[in-house]
């Protein structure tokens, strides 16, 4: 699946998007955050406070308990500050 990062999540991870293949036990958005956080220093920094991270699956906001099984694109970003 494709993962996208925005704002300071993107800066800390060090890339805007990538393709990932998480193991089968990674089933929810929260699981995926935990798995990503183990991938290196930048990821650990980006995901150090999971409760502030917002997620979207296929362009729709989701909660951390959402299942990722059928996702084509998952995005992680900080709380929004537009308008």
């Amino acid at each position: 699946m494709k993962v996208k990062y925005f704002a300071w999540v993107r800066e800390r991870v060090g890339k805007a998007e990538e393709n990932i293949e998480p193991p089968p036990d990674v089933q929810t958005v929260a699981d995926l955050i935990g798995w990503l956080a183990q991938r290196g220093e930048g990821y650990a920094h980006a995901f150090e406070t999971p409760r502030v991270i917002r997620a979207a699956i296929d362009h729709a906001h989701v909660k951390s308990d959402a299942t990722i099984a059928s996702a084509r694109e998952i995005a992680f970003f900080p709380p929004m500050t537009g308008g």
Binding site: K4, F6, A7, W8, A56, H59, A60, H61, A75, F77, P78, P79, M80, T81, G82, G83
Partner: protein
């Protein structure tokens, strides 16, 4: 006549008078247009701001605005609405966002404009980065913005 909905995300500035004319031109069923513009401030909390840079999530930003535009159309008798959100570097005094709502009567237009702005701030995927005199950083979200959006789901 059908309602006219225009949603745009662009780097270029917009002309408010031209946007209002596009929404109302050739129609005689509109009695009220409300216009809200968000403008880049030159100071934030006592600190001078030299510019903002707006990042967005292409695809989702349009989808999220369209979803709330549809909700506004369903909730109020609007004849049309326009939402324009700029991205990229924006200097103090420049426009950031425009919401126009048109209706036969003012109440629907006022309420729908406020509803759209509250949801735009709370749930449309845009992020502001501030450039100050001696530091740059991402703007923190305000709990107040989530509360403003949440009040539309009450009562």
């Amino acid at each position: 006549m059908t309602a006219q909905v225009s949603i745009r995300i662009q780097e270029a500035d917009f002309d408010i008078a031209r946007e209002i004319a596009a929404l109302t031109g050739g129609r005689t069923d509109i009695g009220a247009v409300v216009s809200f513009s968000g403008i880049c401030r030159g100071r934030e909390g006592g600190e001078a701001i030299s510019a903002l840079t707006l990042e967005h999530y292409p695809g989702m930003a349009e989808a999220e605005i369209a979803r709330h535009a549809a909700a506004a159309m369903a909730r109020w008798p609007l004849t049309g609405l326009t939402v324009i959100h700029r991205v990229g570097r924006i200097a103090p005094g420049e426009n950031i966002v425009l919401v126009l709502t048109a209706s036969q009567h003012r109440q629907a237009a006022f309420q729908a404009a406020e509803f759209l702005m509250d949801y735009l701030k709370a749930s449309a995927p845009f992020w502001k980065r501030e450039e100050g005199a001696d530091r740059t950083g991402w703007v923190d979200a305000r709990a107040h913005d989530d509360e403003a959006a949440a009040r539309w789901t009450k009562s």
